[in-house]
């Protein structure tokens, strides 16, 4: 249990008596960091969360932004961002799979069809053949693939870094997208008039799996507790989820046809108790649940396991009784849940009450009876923290680089080389809506509304090499990079999500990093005019020895596209076009792959929002003028890596193209864009440097040194083949 003695005292004080066993477990879950955000909420309010595009901001299971109009209806994109770090470190396959499973339910329960997922991953170093990190890095990927593939949701974006700082604590973040009409949103709060409504529990039979998951993820992992920790990890069932999703789509349709308003919420941390209490209290109601009516996998489960266990693949509906029979028929008969998984079903387990109590009945006894506002009320841990410090001193001036020697080292670097061996296990084409698949460009693009040209782009970012140096800088850079990636495919960025992956908040320095990172996110988002619409906080990412992960504010950016036909296509398009570098040309390599390869320290590139906005404006102007042929955001490995990717993508599409390029140090990661344009006369050349031209042979000629694109491609493709063979 994660509750501290002083918190137990506080519970007794508020109840006016000692809590029952069930109540104690319930508060343990609700007051965990995972559910309550008790040490992070004070910072999170600093994030901007509104814009004309936002329909639902943070606070529900997922955020919702406007996509566009089609056939007289307004469509919207639903997005959720979650982490499953602790479970994935202990049991990586199941932990990562249930990460996908959970975030998909967050999107589903808003009434949406789930259209895509992304997986930002941070693993330890895997060079040692016997390392546990290899097992984690492989199994987590297998788990993500197995789950996403089976439910039929394409994996369209993601990234992966392999750094020592994640040796003891991997990070498995997951982002999911959904689509719906704005008029069809289902909220997770019981609406006005819900007094007496049925609470309908749907899905897998409740078992002991995942009991204590919320509090487990809110403490430091201790290897000595390995067996107990494994028990706290949930068991994924993507097969059942596949059917549960489709049955729920049918229920959405039926409710819409009958004009029935209902509320729906995913069962996640805190299980049935957490879900039902939050659904009811968010509407100003109470709830009463009869635990004997919960479909269980085995008899004799103690009431606190039935109430709080985190068995997967479950949803809770609140709906007027008149609609319930048809909903039960759809789940139990048309989609035959009880035939597919032992005792899976939809059933009425309780009701919404006007009286604001939260009551659990078990065998005729009220095993929990508390003021619902005390249970779900906001609590805060105002812990002390210290101002975040930059961990790397300024470096000396950059040495001149020998491109011939350094370029292959950059391309084979573990954070730059091809990710295909990893993502080819993911189905990124299922649903038939993928416009830019995983790995084809800086962002994944989907055409989520059948028959419409509307598109949505999704990209993630969060460079842990920056995080190891400066938490705030890393957070700002993550916002900028994710946004650039979405712009590079031709989308208009509309919203951000974040997951704050940090160490122990009781360590004032770690806690200070969290505070600074949130400030960094807020600053960058405000400067770019973007809102955060969904997010998650994962703390205690440290080993028992006390070493925490590098500060990791991982960000996703969602962009919208009016016509997917205007998406910037992958790869160089034709010979004889100009290559422009749009962005800062500062010679700084702090936190870069180049610095790692050369073993040097260097200044972090300066972040200038004026320069960033002007770079974005130039790219967008090139696009609307119709002269932008291809584009890449400059990130890990610098501009030359971006150029190599453009050449590789042209090669994949059967175009033998290359480029001649002149630029002193093409490996600095100072941001910006590398653009192939057919005509640069229309563009205001301030902030633009012409760095080269495309040529009609598969060669990159850099400062006079020629590289064969096929050879470079082989070099870049190989490093992860062995790990993900």
């Amino acid at each position: 249990m994660a509750l501290r003695p002083d918190e137990i005292e506080r519970i007794a004080e508020q109840l006016g008596r000692d809590p029952t066993d069930v109540e104690l477990y319930a508060f343990d879950a609700q007051w965990s960091e995972h559910c309550s955000y008790k040490s992070s909420r004070r910072f999170l309010s600093r994030l901007p969360t509104t814009s004309p595009d936002v329909i639902v901001g943070p606070g529900e299971d997922a955020g919702i932004v406007r996509l566009g109009e089609h056939a007289g209806a307004t469509y919207a994109i639903v997005v959720a961002h979650e982490s499953h770090n602790h479970p994935s470190q202990v049991v990586p396959f199941e932990g990562a799979a249930t990460g996908i499973g959970g975030v998909v339910r967050d999107v589903l329960c808003m009434g949406a069809h789930v259209i895509g997922v992304a997986d930002p991953l941070r693993f330890g170093r895997t060079e040692d053949r016997d390392a546990h990190q290899r097992y984690v890095a492989r199994s987590a990927v297998d788990g993500i693939g197995a789950y996403g593939n089976a439910i039929g949701v394409p994996n369209v974006a993601g990234d992966v870094y392999f750094e020592e700082g994640f040796d003891d604590n991997c990070l498995v973040n997951v982002v999911a997208l959904g689509v719906l009409k704005e008029s069809d949103i289902i909220h997770s709060a019981a609406p006005r008039g819900a007094d007496g409504w049925d609470l309908v529990l749907v899905g897998k039979a409740t078992d002991e799996s995942g009991f204590g998951g919320a509090s487990f993820s809110s403490v430091t992992l201790d290897e000595d507790d390995e067996e107990a920790n494994k028990g706290a990890v949930q068991v994924p069932d993507p097969f059942l989820k596949n059917v549960l999703m489709r049955a729920s789509y049918r229920v959405f349709e039926m409710l819409r046809e009958r004009g029935v308003v209902a509320a729906c919420k995913d069962l996640g941390a805190g299980g049935l108790m957490g879900c039902s209490a939050e659904l009811a209290s968010a509407g100003g109601y109470g709830a009463e649940i009869d635990l004997d009516r919960v479909n269980v996998a085995i008899d004799g489960l103690p009431p606190y396991v039935i109430a709080i266990g985190e068995a997967q693949e479950r949803l809770l509906w609140a709906m007027p009784h008149a609609a319930t029979a048809e909903v039960l028929r759809i789940y139990n008969e048309e989609f035959s849940l009880p035939q597919l998984s032992h005792n899976a079903r939809a059933s009425i387990v309780g009701r919404i009450t006007a009286e604001k109590r939260y009551v659990l009945q078990h065998r005729g006894v009220a095993v929990m009876d508390v003021d619902i506002d005390v249970l779900t009320g906001k609590i805060a841990d105002d812990l002390p923290y210290v101002e975040c410090i930059r961990h790397q001193p300024a470096g000396a001036e950059l040495p001149a680089v020998d491109v011939e020697r350094v370029f292959p080292k950059i391309l084979t670097h573990r954070d730059v080389c091809s990710r295909e061996p990893l993502y080819r296990r993911y189905d990124w084409a299922v649903r038939g809506t993928t416009v830019l698949p995983r790995g084809a460009a800086d962002a994944g693009v989907l055409a989520p509304v059948p028959g419409s040209r509307l598109g949505v782009a999704l990209a993630v970012a969060g460079n842990p090499r920056y995080g190891a140096i400066d938490a705030a800088y890393a957070a700002e850079a993550a916002v900028l990079e994710a946004t650039r990636r979405v712009i590079a495919v031709g989308a208009r960025p509309v919203a951000l999500t974040d997951c704050l992956n940090f160490g122990n908040p009781r360590d004032p320095e770690q806690y200070g990093m969290l505070a600074s990172a949130v400030d960094g996110l807020a600053r960058a988002a405000r400067e770019l005019g973007l809102p955060f619409v969904s997010g998650n906080v994962s703390l205690y990412n440290e080993s028992a020895g006390g070493s925490a992960v590098p500060a990791s504010a991982i960000v996703s950016c969602i962009g919208t596209i009016e016509d997917v036909g205007a998406t910037i296509l992958p790869g160089l398009q034709r010979a004889g076009s100009a290559l422009l570098w749009v962005g800062s040309r500062e010679l700084a390599a702090g936190g870069s792959v180049l610095a790692d390869v050369l073993g040097i320290t260097s200044n972090l590139p300066e972040i200038s929002y004026d320069a960033e906005r002007s770079a974005i404006a130039i790219v967008q102007r090139a696009m609307s003028a119709g002269v932008l042929l291809s584009c890449r955001a400059v990130g890990d490995g610098g501009m030359l890596t971006a150029l190599a990717r453009l050449a590789f993508d042209a090669r994949a599409a059967g175009r033998d193209l290359g480029a001649e390029l002149d630029f002193g140090n093409p490996f600095c990661e100072t941001g910006g864009f590398l653009c192939e344009v057919s005509d640069d006369s229309e563009l205001n050349l301030t902030g633009i440097l012409k760095v080269g031209e495309t040529i009609d042979r598969a060669q990159l000629v850099v400062n006079g040194t020629a590289f064969d694109v096929d050879e470079l491609h082989k070099t870049w493709s190989r490093p992860l083949e062995e790990l993900y063979r």
């Binding site: 297998d142 693939g145 197995a146 593939n149 089976a150 439910i151 039929g152 097969f239 596949n242 059917v243 489709r246 008969e333 048309e334 989609f335 035959s336 597919l340 993502y423 080819r424 296990r425 993911y426 189905d427 990124w428 084409a429 299922v430 649903r431 038939g432 809506t433 993928t434 416009v435 698949p437 084809a440 055409a447 059948p450 028959g451 040209r453 016509d563 997917v564 036909g565 998406t567 296509l569 992958p570 398009q573 042929l629 994949a652 599409a653 059967g654 063979r725």
Partner: protein
């Protein structure tokens, strides 16, 4: 009057929506039919089994679904000459049911799509499937030009055709191997085969030619927006190469 096509789903199917959409785009009068409503299947004139993981691919891909009561209707329909198209998991189900190649007893498969080689795991990759029989060998392929190259996605863990050597020869010699993996220009090569499939086989016909089991998904490269080799300025919603197979199927159903 248009003939009606049933897109049959099992628990675990995941490609039904795009399959249905493409059939309709190609002029088909198509509907989803869930396994729990299998008795409705006899009212339909043709069947399409879409991709996914029916019954979680327990035992082997398609092995459990082949025993689902819904398959009785598919078997009866196929025997009466109705056209049947199985894609990916749907193809695996048709082989497990013994309908394709149809040279043995029902539900005693004589060939199977098994674990991808050499990887042994799920692979998602863009591929080309080349028509390797005379188009008139089957009404389903009759609308394709000879040697047609159909772009598609191989997205499966078990796509490697496996059978004893003698049987493979028979499949080849008797015109069962309807599609083979190729390059975009129709040339053949080991590097065009994503999964080690014997004979480079991407699709098989039954003896009579009214049932086609194809592993790669043409419905995932059937509109320009899905086609990565599209050119700047091409209409995103216009059909791309994968649509031709569905169009040929729909024409055959309505003929």
């Amino acid at each position: 009057m248009k003939r009606r096509i049933a897109v049959l789903t099992f628990p675990g199917t995941n490609s039904e929506d795009e399959t249905l959409r493409l059939l309709r785009d190609c002029g088909g009068d198509a509907y989803l039919v869930h396994w729990s409503r299998a008795e409705m299947l006899s009212q339909y004139d043709a069947y399409v089994l879409p991709g996914g993981f029916a019954y979680e691919d327990r035992i082997r891909a398609g092995a459990v679904a082949a025993f689902d009561p819904a398959m009785e209707y598919v078997i009866a329909g196929a025997r009466s000459g109705k056209l049947v198209l199985g894609i990916c998991n749907g193809a695996q189900i048709l082989l497990e049911a013994g309908l394709v190649p149809g040279t043995g007893e029902l539900r005693r498969p004589t060939a199977a799509f098994t674990d991808n080689r050499p990887s042994g795991h799920f692979i998602c990759r863009h591929v080309y499937a080349k028509l390797a029989v005379d188009p008139d060998r089957s009404p389903i392929t009759a609308g394709l030009p000879a040697g047609a190259v159909v772009p598609a996605y191989a997205s499966n863990g078990e796509g490697c055709l496996t059978a004893p050597a003698q049987r493979l020869r028979e499949l080849q010699d008797r015109g069962h191997v309807a599609f083979v993996y190729s390059h975009a220009d129709g040339t053949l090569g080991e590097d065009a085969i994503p999964n080690g499939s014997a004979l480079g086989c991407a699709g098989l016909l039954n003896v009579e030619g009214n049932i086609l089991a194809i592993m790669p998904h043409p419905e995932r490269d059937a509109w320009n927006f899905q086609h990565l080799e599209r050119r700047i300025g091409e209409d995103a919603l216009a059909p791309s190469g994968g649509a031709v197979l569905f169009r040929s199927f729909v024409e055959a159903v309505n003929r």
